[in-house]
Every structure is written in structure tokens, then in C-alpha cells.
């Protein structure tokens, strides 16, 4: 199976550097989440891999070969791009058919894909009347048409309902388990953290993290504890005396750092301090992600 190798990739549009010296590898057999805020350069990176845009520097290859040099590219790489690439006047079936012909793919495969993505009933309807979700399903059918070993999907769950989201997650999981290379982009960590084994995070076109999903989520566990007490000042004194930090005080609510919840409970009990509430605060995934994409220096090791 092929991996996607991205090396020193750089793309500028006028004065804007959309992708800035980006290097990472997407390995087979797992789902790699490609994360970054909107405008981080995810779509541009995918367009560069597909040869739709020309890089100003660097190279992107599929199993060592540039996409443009692949003989039947859709049999090696299946892509769903964020921007619509369908003529509204053409039917779903005909859209798949002309692409199949161009790659020497049997028309029977078109029918299979229509079944797989659940569009068989509307295959002869013109795609101009399709909902966003139906368009996405057709895009997935296009990506899978050539039974490719590499899949690149740009924000695939956009416009899908909950059932659709679940369907696509299962599908991608299965494809990765078959040993394929799956790159899945999103601007929401929560969306890919369920599916992805590995995460590549970029910001401003630069790599900020390249690590396993578990590793990234662990970074979210800072030791902030929310304590509610009628005597916030006494609590603050106890906390400081034991090496903790007071992060914020708001009336009877105190945010404590550098001490665990059990430790704070013990300190309060030993000093007969009344506590009304004692809650460890786990930073949300999105907070972690937002914080991460604000960091300036790259973290994590290349794999």
C-alpha cells in the first residue's frame, strides 16, 4: 500500500503563503486526521498532492511517484475535495461514468458505488438538485470509484446528517483496516478524534503537531480544579502553603492549579474547611486544539 509523502511543500498565492515548508508522511493502515483552523492550508495541501495546483517548492508523492505521473491516478488515489466539482446539469450516474471511462474502470463499478453511497435511487437525477449531503455522498463515490489504496477527503462530513457522519466514520475505519492510507481533514478536533489514529495539525501552512491521537488528547489534561467554598481566602492560603496556585477567584468559586482534587479535599478536611464543590476541570478537546494551533513552535516528532 502507498503512503503520501509530503516534503518541503510550499505554495504562495500572491503575498499569502498558504503552505509553508510542510513535511510529513501519511502511512497506510490507519486513519490520519488532518487538522487545522479554516484557512490553515489543509485544502491547498490536498490540491498540491493532486497536482491541481503547482507547488512553489517541495514535492508531494504517492508511494514515491508524483500524482501527475500516475498512469491511472484514480486507481491509486481517491479524493473528495471541499469545493464542488460537479456539473449541475449532469446526472450522478453520468458523472461517475465519464470518470470511470477515463480510467478504464468497468461501468459495473459505477453501479456498485451508487449502491454503496446510497444514491442508486437518484442516480439519474441531475446533481443540481442534490442536497449538500447527497453531493458529499457522490463525492465519496467518486473517491472510491477506482478502488484506490490512498484516500484523501477534505471535510467529508460537511452537510451530512448524523446518520451520514456515522456512515462515513465506519467506512473510513474499514478502509484503513483494509490497509489503505486514509487522510481526513477537518477544522474540528472532536470530529476526527473519534476516527483518527494519528493526527497531523497545521496552522498558517506550517506543521504544529504530528503525533498519535491519544498523545494529543493527553495534552488536554492540565490540573485545574474548581472549588466552591464559603471561605475562599482560607482555601487560597492552604493551597499556596501546599505548593498550589490560585488561577482565579470569583465570589465563592476558586480555580486551583498544580494540585489534584483529592489533595485539595485532604487539605480542606485536615483544616476543617467546608467545601461545597470539588470538580477537576478537563480542558475540552477544542480548547486543546485551539491552544495547540496558537503555539508557535512545532511540537511532536515526525513519523
Amino acid at each position: 500500500m502507498d503512503s503520501i509523502e509530503i516534503s518541503g511543500l510550499t505554495k504562495r498565492y500572491g503575498d499569502t503563503t498558504a503552505v509553508d515548508d510542510l513535511t510529513f508522511t501519511v502511512s497506510p493502515g490507519r486513519v490520519t486526521g488532518f487538522l487545522g483552523p479554516n484557512g490553515a492550508g489543509k485544502s491547498t495541501t490536498m490540491r498540491l498532492v493532486l497536482g491541481l495546483d503547482r507547488p512553489d517548492a517541495g514535492i508531494a508523492t504517492i508511494g514515491g511517484t508524483r500524482y501527475a505521473d500516475l498512469a491511472e491516478p484514480m486507481r491509486r488515489v481517491g479524493a473528495l475535495l471541499e469545493a464542488r466539482a460537479l456539473h449541475p446539469g449532469r446526472t450522478a450516474r453520468n458523472h461517475l461514468r465519464y470518470l470511470a471511462y477515463s480510467q478504464g474502470i468497468a461501468p459495473a463499478r459505477v453501479e456498485q458505488m451508487l449502491e454503496l453511497v446510497g444514491l442508486a435511487d437518484v442516480a439519474d437525477k441531475r446533481v443540481g438538485g442534490f442536497s449538500l449531503g447527497m453531493g458529499q455522498r457522490l463525492g465519496v463515490a467518486v473517491a472510491l470509484l477506482g478502488d484506490p489504496s490512498v484516500l484523501m477527503l477534505d471535510e467529508p462530513v460537511n452537510g451530512l446528517d448524523i446518520e451520514g457522519v456515522r456512515w462515513i466514520r465506519t467506512l473510513l475505519r474499514d478502509l484503513a483496516d483494509e490497509g489503505r492510507t486514509v487522510l481526513l481533514s477537518s477544522h474540528l478536533l472532536s470530529e476526527v478524534s473519534v476516527t483518527a489514529d494519528h493526527l497531523v495539525v497545521i496552522r498558517g501552512g506550517r506543521l504544529v503537531a504530528n503525533c498519535s491521537t491519544a498523545e494529543l488528547l493527553d495534552r488536554g489534561n492540565d490540573n485545574e480544579v474548581l472549588v466552591v467554598t464559603p471561605e475562599p481566602d482560607r482555601l487560597a492560603g492552604l493551597v499556596r502553603a501546599s505548593g498550589g496556585r490560585i488561577l482565579a477567584v470569583d465570589g465563592d468559586q476558586v480555580s486551583v492549579g498544580d494540585l489534584t482534587a483529592p489533595r485539595i479535599g485532604e487539605l480542606a478536611a485536615a483544616d476543617r474547611l467546608v467545601l461545597h464543590e470539588l470538580t477537576p476541570q478537563r480542558a475540552s478537546l477544542e480548547d486543546t486544539f485551539v491552544e495547540l494551533t496558537r503555539e508557535l513552535s512545532p511540537v511532536g516528532s515526525a513519523s
Binding site: L52, A83, S102
Partner: protein, 260 residues
């Protein structure tokens, strides 16, 4: 690469057939060109008695019967432009280029399929127009028969003219990437440029006018006796084919270099 080309031709043929707009454009082209030609032939035949001696001397019934191609060239130009700009407007170009990342074969296949359809439609238009026109002239004004020297050549080259206009329009579509811009450009080339030339001194008209596509169509390719100052039929065909080739080479270069 031979193997790939038959696939690409099939893909482009599927694209063409699966859009109603392309079929309707061609039907509209055929029907309205023939209708306009028929109408104008009837008008000329009706006014033959009042025609001047000079008009009668230069009377070319074949050329007259092909006059509908003036309209046909516009329809065929729209057909060619839309074949390309329709892909840009809808974003299909990204799917097409992802499927054929080398891009040049994509343009070659598209030009072959759309140019081929324009050629067949163009020949249908000129053959039907010719026979209807001569039928109208018969018994009223001097008319031509298909077997006369130069007649078959003029009728068939009128169809070739439409196919070459389609190719030039496609190339403009690739270069400009916008429907309105490309249609404006081809209309300027076919209609506005001749109008401007006509307003210039006669010597200039005679030396430059004959190189304009529209003049090559009416004065060289579709004429049994080339009009005064016009290029000969084969030279005219070669010049127009040269324009189409240069336009396509430029388009191919731009398509290969640009981001889509």
C-alpha cells in the same frame, strides 16, 4: 498513450452527451442556420429582377445558399466556449484534471470530440442549406449543382469552417476561463473585427480583411469563385486551421501551467 486516448475520447463523449445544453446548442445551430439560409435565399431570389448587372456577374449560388453559416458560426462558437468554460464554472475541471493530471491529453480529447461534433453538424448544415437553396433558385435564378467544379468543395469546406471556429472558441474558453468573456471575445473576432475593418480604407480592407476568420469563411472556403482580394479556398482553409492550431497550442500551454 493510444490506449489512454480512446478512454479519454469516450469520457469526453460521455460528458458531451450527458449535458442537455450541448445537444440543444447543436440542434439550435442546425435548425436556425438552415432556416436563416432558406429565408435569405428566398429574399434574394425574389429580388433577382431588380439586381444590378454587377451583382448578377458575381452571382455565386453556392455561396449564397451557405449564408446561414453566419448564424451557425455563433452557435458553434457558444458550443465550443461552453465545452470548456462550463467545466470551470461548475468546478468539473478539477475532477477532469484529477482524472487526467497530464492535462494536454484532456484538451486534445476534448477538442477531438467537440470539434468532431461541430464538423458533423457543420456538414449537415451546409449540405442541407445547399440543396434547399438551389431548390429555391431553380427556375427563378441561375443555380448550382453539386457536381459542378468547386461546388462540392465549397459546401464541404463551409462545414470545416464551422468546426475550426469551434476549436478557436474552445481555445479562447481555456485561456479566458469565463463564459461571458470568451463569448465576447469570439463575437468580437467574428463580427466586430470585420465591421471595424469595413470602416477602414479600401486598400487596408483588401490587404488585411481577407485574413479575418469571417472573410475566410464566406469569401474563401464557402465560395466557388473566391471573392476579389480573398484568399483561395485551400489557402484560406490552411490559414484558419493555422489560427486554430496556434490558439490550441497557447491554450494547451496555459492549461498545463495554471492552477485549477
Amino acid at each position: 498513450m493510444i490506449v489512454t486516448y480512446d478512454r479519454l475520447l469516450r469520457a469526453e463523449w460521455t460528458k458531451l452527451r450527458s449535458l442537455r445544453s450541448s445537444g440543444w446548442t447543436m440542434v439550435a445551430m442546425v435548425v436556425s442556420s438552415i432556416a436563416l439560409g432558406t429565408l435569405l435565399c428566398a429574399v434574394v431570389a425574389a429580388h433577382w429582377s431588380s439586381a444590378s448587372a454587377a451583382d448578377r456577374a458575381s452571382w455565386d449560388p453556392t455561396n449564397q445558399s451557405l449564408v446561414g453559416t453566419i448564424f451557425g458560426q455563433l452557435a458553434v462558437a457558444v458550443f465550443g466556449v461552453l465545452a470548456v468554460t462550463g467545466e470551470y464554472a461548475s468546478g468539473t475541471i478539477r475532477a477532469s484534471v484529477a482524472a487526467v493530471p497530464k492535462r494536454t491529453p484532456l484538451l486534445v480529447a476534448k477538442a477531438a470530440v467537440y470539434g468532431g461534433v461541430a464538423l458533423v453538424s457543420g456538414e449537415i448544415v451546409s449540405l442541407i442549406s445547399f440543396f434547399i437553396g438551389q431548390r429555391i433558385f431553380q427556375g427563378r435564378v441561375p443555380y448550382a449543382t453539386f457536381g459542378q467544379p468547386g461546388v462540392a468543395r465549397a459546401v464541404l469546406l463551409a462545414g470545416v469552417y464551422l468546426a475550426l471556429i469551434c476549436l478557436i472558441a474552445m481555445a479562447l474558453g481555456v485561456v479566458l476561463r469565463h463564459t461571458a468573456g470568451a463569448i465576447t471575445a469570439i463575437v468580437a473576432l467574428l463580427l466586430v473585427l470585420p465591421a471595424i475593418t469595413a470602416a477602414l480604407p479600401t486598400s487596408f480592407q483588401n490587404s488585411v480583411g481577407r485574413f479575418l476568420p469571417e472573410q475566410i469563411g464566406g469569401g474563401s472556403m464557402g465560395a466557388v469563385v473566391p471573392e476579389p482580394h480573398a484568399l483561395g479556398p485551400w489557402v484560406g482553409t490552411a490559414v484558419l486551421a493555422g489560427y486554430a492550431l496556434v490558439a490550441m497550442l497557447l491554450a494547451g500551454r496555459m492549461l498545463a501551467r495554471r492552477d485549477v
